[in-house]
Symmetry: C2
Subunit: 386 residues, 2 copies
């Protein structure tokens, strides 16, 4: 039996932007200070989610680096990496350590510095989510792989260009009122379909942008939570799953198995039925990935993810609004930080701090954070703290 | 209360060597297959310890990569990084998840591919353990920092060149009969003191070598362990601690605080008195680091670590033989793998599988794995399984 309930007690975020004047450490510290503000008690543990600080900032050992910068040297600290699901995976470690009683509290901070790299270097860095010996070796970029997947999705299941544009349109509409979002500007489907070609059929606006950012959450158990006047979100369940590594190794490329398994496991642990979610953060690094994710989680039938989005199923005001702060496309996708941004956003919804993006009476929220092309998926489910 | 006792049920290792024909994945798989051999049940989790696969192999996302290569896609997997203590830190996560009941079993594999890099690239990769904005910025390599520390240690505390050579001499003597060691050749103190200068006063034989390797351990709880005929080692305690990040930020550079705190915490959790250890794996990435580590753990008084080593206190046949398979200097130091090698070696001692290196009747063993200059320290304590 688990030892304790687990709560997200507070969060901190930087804007997702070109942070030319801030180092990766500056960003991590700003987000962490936001999450720790007003807390006198030190967290028991620091866990940093990050994918490629080695190439993005020539920096490893982020755990101890962040601990020292926060004046917390002494406490255990390390980094967790699982490509673009580094943030969600780091959170999962903290969640389980608190839930099962190993520690009382943990600061989980996701951070990535991408904009100091040249565009080709970003491509090379992201490609490290894929096999160096096979996928990278043949020169396939990460965008190219998702382009192949999008072509296959459209041709096999009869999905149109305009349908594919629907999720980016939702994201941009939601980002307008999101203070931390990278692109706070609404777009039309035509903006997507007329944007530059990146990896046929994926265009610029099908793809998450490059940006710098950090997000942090403070996780606490029952006793550390007691007596607080803060509004909190409860972490009800969480699971990481993996898929066969690369899409070419899979029986069915259109089945996002890692997400399917992680979503099922997380909801089961949470004891929440899929229909009960008030809002959902979907890992739409590319439009096609958002659509296939919604299908893997069972909200859309096979081939219907993009179509349902176009029909308004996932927009604000619908039964299941997704990416209420802009998702990966418009809030931005500083890769190792993204999973923690999603969780901070779920917290804002469940504590009625989402401002103009508030989903009225939001009761349950989930976050889905992918590494690779659904190679790793970390899903977490949240509720209002009683 | 913890949920279960935790056991190291089996281990696997590659030799530490120049593995020109093996990729980082090949090495991780070879070690993992060794640890999983004869086990029909899948582990619940894979945790990879690695420091710089991003620059050493242009590869991240090792968790899912290893899972798929082992035919284990589906299960949760991620990488843990804490510079040279990545292996010990990865193990600590697995240990706590099993101990507290989150999972029943975990495969922890440490791996590093260093030899594909040019020597300057290795220096740059290791320097990522230190701050990019300060220490790296002024051009201080990791060896240079340890050189400064060695000079200070010798001048402040009256330690001689010959005394500093004692730990490398012990390591090389112990590696002769270690099948997986990188340098199986005994040396004299003169070999150390006459070897090339690397970072004054540190010479080539004061420094751990560059090599490729992987080590893996299978961790199980009570129920997963029950009914086995295998000899196992019990994990009695473990702790990660951090120090102020860089040596120049510390009140006392000669106090290895991270190791001191981690060692104290791990022994306390284990309920084992320091005097009860039969053998100890010390993180002697540089001779001076080995000496200061022995002082931080309380086995030698301040300034006496190297002197005690020269006097025979830590040699085979003494009360506390260290680094019985060669330590970082002679077994080798594939950085992210080292912490797991140490644990695999403690297992071999406690299950009477250490061959010619066997410490007769070894009852308790500990491993100390450092990242940076004692910036992070992960200590674990092991006993014979009842």
């Amino acid at each position: 039996m688990p030892r304790s309930k687990v709560y997200v007690k507070s969060v901190g975020m930087t804007t997702v932007a070109d942070h030319w004047n801030d180092s990766i450490l500056d960003l991590a510290v700003e987000a962490s200070r936001g999450a720790l503000k007003g807390h006198s008690k030190k967290p028991d543990q620091i866990i940093v989610g990050n994918m490629f600080s080695a190439v993005g900032a020539r920096q490893e050992h982020l755990g101890a680096l962040v601990a020292t910068a926060l004046g917390l040297a002494g406490i255990p600290a390390f980094k967790v990496e699982a490509a673009c699901s580094s943030g969600g995976s780091a959170f999962n470690v903290g969640f389980n350590l608190v839930k099962w009683g190993a520690i009382d509290s943990a600061l989980v901070v996701g951070v990535e510095k991408m904009r100091d790299l040249e565009p080709e270097e970003v491509s090379q860095a992201l490609a490290m989510a894929e096999s160096a010996e096979y996928t990278q070796f043949v020169g396939a970029t990460f965008a190219a792989l998702n382009g192949l997947l999008a072509r296959y999705y459209m041709e096999q299941l009869g999905v149109t260009r305009d349908e594919l544009s629907a999720i980016p349109v939702i994201d941009h509409a939601n980002a307008v009122a999101a203070p931390h979002a990278q692109f706070r500007k609404a777009i039309t489907p035509e903006v997507v379909s007329r944007s530059s070609m990146i990896a046929d059929p994926l265009r610029l606006f099908d793809c998450a942008p490059v940006g710098d950012g950090a997000a942090a959450v403070l996780l606490v158990n029952d006793s550390a939570a007691s007596g607080t006047k803060r509004k909190m979100a409860e972490v009800l369940g969480g699971k990481i799953s993996t898929n066969d590594f690369s899409i070419y190794e899979r029986e069915d490329m259109l089945d996002f198995k890692a997400t399917r398994l992680a979503f099922k496991g997380a909801l089961q642990e949470a004891g929440v039925a899929p229909g009960k979610l008030s809002t959902l953060e979907v890992h739409d690094a590319f439009s096609v990935v958002g659509a296939l994710s919604l299908e893997a989680m069972g909200y859309s039938k096979r081939g219907q993810g993009a179509k349902d989005a176009k029909a308004g199923r996932y927009s604000r005001g619908s039964d299941l609004p997704i990416n209420t702060f802009g998702g990966l496309k418009a809030r931005g996708h500083p890769v190792g930080a993204t999973g923690v941004y999603q969780i901070a956003e779920a917290y804002l919804q469940l504590t009625d701090q989402a401002g103009k993006n508030q989903v009225e009476g939001a009761k349950y929220a989930a976050t889905q954070n992918i590494g690779g092309v659904d190679t790793t998926s970390a899903v977490h489910v949240f509720g209002r703290a009683a």
